[in-house]
């Protein structure tokens, strides 16, 4: 029993450090990808090709002065970034990286992730409110409305997957997927996949849905008043959120750890490739698209994505009852 | 329409208001009394043969000691459909420094007039929101007047006391140790003792 607990803790520590390393290099990856899309080099100074840049950034952020606004609501102000990061990190626990490799392979994995990503939205709202700043306040309000709306679209887009796999357990979904005719659900669930991709961008507050922090209007939105380490926590939360969302997309639609052939000794390779493909998609969108206006985001969510996702659910039900059975 | 014809029409419509007209480098400037300036502008704006619908520029000129009437407000008007321009120069005496606003004709005159008020000190009657625009609200004097000194002893800004009060309130944070400065040290540092550093 004790050994099991110790082993779990060890596993958590390992996964945590690996994820943090990936988060750090996801920022580097982003800057390089966007840089090359924009006819420039990205970071080049720290280390060969700027490879040590994320580490330098981390050190800088961690040693900065911890500034907070005098009129802020202190407990909430301190708690908000922690809520964001913890909610994002907790979701990692239920993600199976390869067969049998998940910190906790629970039966309600998908629901758990959806719940956690809602919690992250709560952190953003609190941050906006506690900062006692108007920009942050507007950012927080936008975030609450946006995250709630897109939560619904995202949840509905995954319902099709649940129906096809007959389970909420992530590993079960991957296994069911491997046995399906196409091997991935992205093809039969193309509508759901599309809705998921859009909702995924909105859930993580990325362009073109980066309303809550939209720098051209709201300076930095909910994290306007945050500096140094606390800002870094938000930043980490956002990138962990991206990795989580990319993982959910990989597991639900792209076949998880399965691939065209098995790679010995390195079973995570397919999973990683797919996750990084989706993360690349995030960056690609960011470099290409302008930003939506707030009311247009809401209209898109409620008038387009939710009906689409509902239609997908009905379609999947019909197909499952009459065609595939 | 010829420029002289416009002047002629204006003279017919407003007898006794036109004092003089000067053509210089192909541009027509009409010096007028200020009392009926709004009606004159409305006439130029609405008349179908003149149609001065674009107020290019509005500014004040201080003739200081050079002329009997100290100020002039200059309206540069242009007609986009008919492509002619004319300049009205309304005389404004120093002791009664006011003129009617033309914002009812051209909405864009709003900021021109605010600027003229700000820098020249001419009051526009009927202006919706006549405040200073380029200079701070607390500024004293009107810099583009000829009697405004170009150089001279610097006057302390009236808002400085307020800033100092805020600085005292924030003393507890003690930025760079400056909070320990007494008033005397502060004034010495400000009085231009270059590189003044507290001993």
């Amino acid at each position: 029993m004790v050994i099991e607990i110790l082993l779990t803790i060890l596993l958590i520590v390992v996964v945590f450090s690996v994820i943090m390393l990936h988060v750090a290099y996801a920022t580097y990856f982003e800057r390089k990808v966007i840089g090359h899309m924009q006819v420039r080099m990205g970071p080049m100074r720290v280390g060969p090709h700027g490879l040590l840049q994320p580490i330098a950034d981390g050190i800088k952020l961690f040693f900065k002065e911890d500034v907070f606004p005098e009129t802020a609501d202190k407990p909430t102000f301190y708690a908000a970034p922690i809520i964001c990061l913890v909610a994002a990190l907790t979701s990692i626990a239920v993600i199976p990286f390869w067969e049998g490799m998940a910190i906790s392979d629970i039966n309600i994995g998908l629901l758990f992730i959806l719940a956690m990503s809602s919690l992250a939205g709560w952190g953003v709202v609190l941050a906006g409110w506690a900062s006692n700043s108007k920009y942050a306040f507007l950012g927080g309000l936008r975030a609450s409305a946006q995250i709630i709306s897109y939560e619904i679209a995202m949840g509905l887009s995954i319902v099709g997957v649940m129906m096809m796999a007959g389970s909420l357990n992530m590993s079960e979904i991957v296994k069911a997927q491997a046995q399906s005719p196409f091997g991935i659900y992205a093809i039969p669930q193309v509508l759901g996949f599309f809705v998921f991709l859009v909702a995924m961008l909105a859930e993580t507050n990325r362009t073109p849905f980066d309303m809550p922090e939209c720098e051209s209007e709201l300076v930095a939105g909910y994290c306007t008043e945050y500096a140094g380490f606390r800002f870094a926590l938000f930043f980490l939360g956002e990138y962990v959120g991206m990795i989580v969302m990319a993982s959910v997309g990989t597991i639900c639609f792209l076949g998880g750890w399965t691939g065209p052939f098995e790679v010995p000794f390195f079973p995570i390779i397919w999973f990683m490739l797919k996750v990084y493909f989706l993360i690349f998609f995030f960056y690609w969108v960011r470099a290409t698209l302008p930003r939506y206006r707030y009311d247009q985001i809401m209209a898109l969510g409620w008038k387009v994505l939710i009906p689409l996702a509902l239609g997908n659910v009905i379609l999947t039900g019909i197909m499952k009852t009459f065609v595939w059975h | 329409m010829e420029l002289l014809e416009i002047v002629e029409k204006l003279r017919e419509a407003f007898p006794g208001e036109i004092l003089e007209w000067i053509e210089h480098r192909g541009q027509m400037g009409v010096i007028v009394r200020r009392d009926r300036i709004l009606e004159m502008c409305r006439f130029l704006h609405d008349d179908s043969e003149i149609q001065m619908n674009h107020l290019m520029d509005l500014c004040g000129v201080d003739y200081g000691d050079r002329k009997d009437v100290r100020f002039e407000v200059v309206y540069n008007l242009y007609s986009i459909p008919l492509r002619h321009m004319i300049r009205l120069r309304a005389q404004v005496p120093e002791d009664d420094c006011r003129i009617d606003s033309v914002t009812s004709l051209w909405t864009g005159a709003d900021w021109h007039e605010r600027e003229t008020y700000d820098l020249m000190g001419i009051v526009f009657e009927g202006h919706p929101d006549l405040r200073r625009v380029l200079l701070p609200e607390t500024w004293e004097g009107h810099p583009l007047r000829k009697d405004y000194p170009v150089q001279g002893p610097e006057k302390e800004w009236s808002g400085y006391e307020e800033v100092k009060a805020v600085a005292r309130r924030l003393k507890k944070y003690d930025f760079y140790g400056a909070a320990e400065w007494t008033d005397e040290e502060e004034s010495r540092a400000r009085a231009g003792e270059a590189g003044y550093v507290k001993e």
């Binding site: 924009q38 006819v39 707030y294 | 540069n76 986009i80 200079l135």
Partner: protein, 410 residues
């Protein structure tokens, strides 16, 4: 009732709603300098928008009353620092009209050419920041790539990138070199294909269309009344371009079209400026083909301080005050140096109509100089345009009016 009025009525009728004030700027990433907007918001709807300017006021008008005509010219560089050469040219033209000088034909062509280059440079910065404000960040860097080429050409032309002060009263400072012309030729051959690159990124992008179409509509009548000029006015469908209405320099000799919008929204203003890029390329090409030989500065141009060739021989070994200095003093003091009178001369700079109103009392420096800066008027109009729109639209409107605060505050 217009859409905006409806929105305002909608929110003000709601008893539960609470307005709050935001002061956007002067340190704000999207206000293009030190512009401050006092906003009254109800949720995201703007109830009132009052721009507050003056943070960059340097008193250029007062300064120039105490400087000679030539000495004031570098000040005009600091107006609209995105297109300094266009300001210089406008200033020189106004002074030339006042003093009754005419530049030689070659100088006129050169000025037209570089004015259009600076129009391209300024519009590039406009598309860069406008797109960045709406969120398309890649266009920003693409546009800077091309702008760099133009700035390098300016550097080769006169040694300065942003503040060239290249034109002179009565001509230009230096003739162009062969290398410069080759580079320019290469640039204008390549530039139209670069324009297409920006257009593929944003022109038909659905999000871009949603953010710009039907936003910030200014009807033609209102636009004229507000005093808008330049592409901001032409976007509303008013055919007013000073290059056509009151042609100056070499514009009467070249062939170009003035793009006109229809609906007067942000998108039309955007399209107008994008077309102006192409027309500018056309003008530059014609100028290069037609460039006549001859002198580059008029014989009767005043060299008050900045002579083309300073008289070194006289200065060397002389003990008294230098002849340059005495000439300056004489002109400043001498009331009979020039004719008395006043002129208003305006030119079409990238931002709109830049006008200079000069009053001369006969001395070598202006008695009064007034600058009619387009940005100042455009910012004044911003409040009217933004009322009833959403916060995000303010940013789109600022971008589409293309304001620069150095020129606004003077």
């Amino acid at each position: 009732m217009s859409r905006n009025e409806e929105r305002i009525a909608d929110v003000s009728g709601d008893a539960l709603s609470e307005v709050f004030e935001v002061q956007m700027g002067p340190q704000h990433p999207a206000t293009h300098g030190v512009l401050k907007l006092n906003l009254v918001l109800d949720g995201e709807t703007v109830l009132s928008c009052k721009p507050d300017v003056g943070y960059l006021h340097r008193g250029i008008e007062k300064l120039s009353e105490n400087l000679t005509y030539s000495q004031s010219m570098p000040l005009t560089d600091r107006l609209d620092y995105m297109s300094a050469i266009a300001n210089n040219t406008g200033y020189c033209l106004a002074v030339e009209t006042l003093l009754g000088i005419e530049a030689p034909l070659r100088a006129k062509y050169l000025r037209t050419m570089i004015c259009e280059m600076s129009r391209i440079a300024s519009h590039l910065l406009w598309i860069a920041t406008h797109a960045l404000d709406i969120g398309a960040m890649t266009v920003f860097l693409y546009a800077f790539r091309e702008r760099e080429l133009i700035l390098e050409m300016f550097e080769e032309l006169c040694g300065a990138r942003l503040t060239p002060s290249y034109p002179r009263i009565g001509g230009v400072r230096q003739d162009v070199t062969r290398e410069f012309m080759d580079r320019l030729e290469k640039f204008i051959a390549e530039f139209p294909s670069r324009l297409e690159e920006y257009e593929t990124l944003i022109d038909t992008n659905r999000i871009w269309l949603k953010r710009t179409k039907g936003i910030g509509i200014i009807p033609a009548e209102q636009a004229i009344g507000l005093g808008l000029t330049g592409a901001s006015l032409r976007g509303s469908g008013v055919d007013y371009d000073i290059r056509k209405h009151r042609p100056y320099d070499a514009y009467p000799y070249v062939d170009f079209e003035v793009p006109i919008g229809i609906s007067g929204d942000v998108y039309d203003r955007y399209r107008c400026r994008m077309e102006e890029f192409r027309q500018s390329v056309r003008i530059i090409r014609q100028c290069m083909e037609q460039l006549p030989p001859g002198p580059i500065i008029a014989d009767d141009a005043p060299d008050l301080v900045m002579e083309l060739k300073p008289p070194r021989k006289v200065m060397a070994g002389s003990t008294g005050p230098s002849p340059l200095k005495t000439a300056l003093i004489r002109l400043v003091e001498d009331r009979q140096a020039y004719m008395e009178g006043d002129v208003y001369v305006s030119t079409e700079v990238p931002k709109g109509e830049l006008g200079f109103y000069f009053v001369s009392d006969g001395r070598g420096m202006p008695y009064r100089m007034h600058i009619r800066s387009p940005s100042y008027i455009h910012i004044g109009a911003l409040g009217v345009i933004c009322e009833g729109e959403l916060v995000a639209d303010i940013i789109a409107n600022i971008g589409s009016l293309d304001v620069v605060l150095g020129e606004c505050d003077r």
